[in-house]
Amino acid sequence: MAEPAGPGRSWLPALAVAGCIAIELAMATAPVGFAVRVAALLALASTAVALSLRQALGGLASRALRLAVMGPVVFSIVLTVVLTLDACARRGGLLR
């Protein structure tokens, strides 16, 4: 697997993630509806996490190892989302 580039390019992923977080902060205070705000925050956070994950897993140098980390990550995300939605549905509303 190709190693990531040297220090010069190493700032780019962090800058992209910082951009996502900056937009998140703006969205958190923007005068928009509740559902729009929640959707935007979750979408931006997912993008930031995906960018960070890509950068973090770049050092593993093996596809099998990357999958070994991604397996629990995906499993955890799916389980958390499903159980949270279930709990919200039982309470009678999707978002709170």
Partner: protein, 192 residues
């Protein structure tokens, strides 16, 4: 590296054992954080009322803490790049990363202190406070361990320890992004 009968294992020699160990650790650690975040989500979904994060927390301080971790992610990448190139700058970047991590821990301690003393929100104040301290405290503990690992790696910045510490640090940063969004930013709905 060889398998049964002394036959070489395809691709096995390409991955150093430190990275395999860290990958296994991170896989289990992700599930630990996931359990805590699930507990947060379930408590929040089932509670009769939940405090508005905008009113309870100092979002500016949390944003500064996030910026510190993002900057540390960049300096960690720079340390890794310098380490791979065999340059002497790796130690400098590692120390910068450790300093940013230490600043994060100091900031979090200040936040906890302000919540507990100024706002009288101790660990047992309510469900929201309890789960907040547990989730952010568990992450803070990871940052403390990371700072120790970074300082240890900075003493003799060899490539392999650098790769392993980098993997750990990037994950600690990544998990904070989720905590920051879910705990500090996600608004409270009008229902309930």
């Amino acid at each position: 590296m060889t398998g049964p009968g002394g036959l070489p294992l395809a691709g096995a020699a390409a991955v150093p054992p430190g990275r395999i160990g860290m990958a296994i650790f991170l896989g289990s650690d992700v599930m630990g954080f996931s359990g805590l975040l699930l507990a947060y989500a379930l408590l929040r979904a089932q509670a009769p009322a939940w405090p508005d994060p905008a009113l309870r927390f100092d979002r500016l301080l949390a944003a500064v803490l996030t910026a510190l971790l993002l900057a540390s992610s960049a300096t960690m990448s720079a340390a890794l790049g310098a380490g791979r190139a065999g340059g002497p700058a790796a130690r400098r970047w590692l120390l910068a990363t450790a300093a940013l991590g230490a600043a994060f821990v100091v900031g979090q301690t200040v936040e906890f202190g302000a919540l507990a003393t100024r706002h009288h929100l101790g660990l047992a104040a309510d469900q929201a406070a309890s789960i907040f301290y547990v989730v952010t405290g568990f992450h803070g503990l990871h940052v403390v361990v990371g700072v120790v690992l970074l300082l240890a790696a900075a003493r003799h910045p060899a490539r392999e320890p650098l790769e392993v510490v980098s993997l750990y640090w990037q994950f600690v940063d990544l998990i904070w992004l989720v905590i920051f969004t879910v705990v500090y930013l996600l608004p409270v709905g009008t229902r309930g």
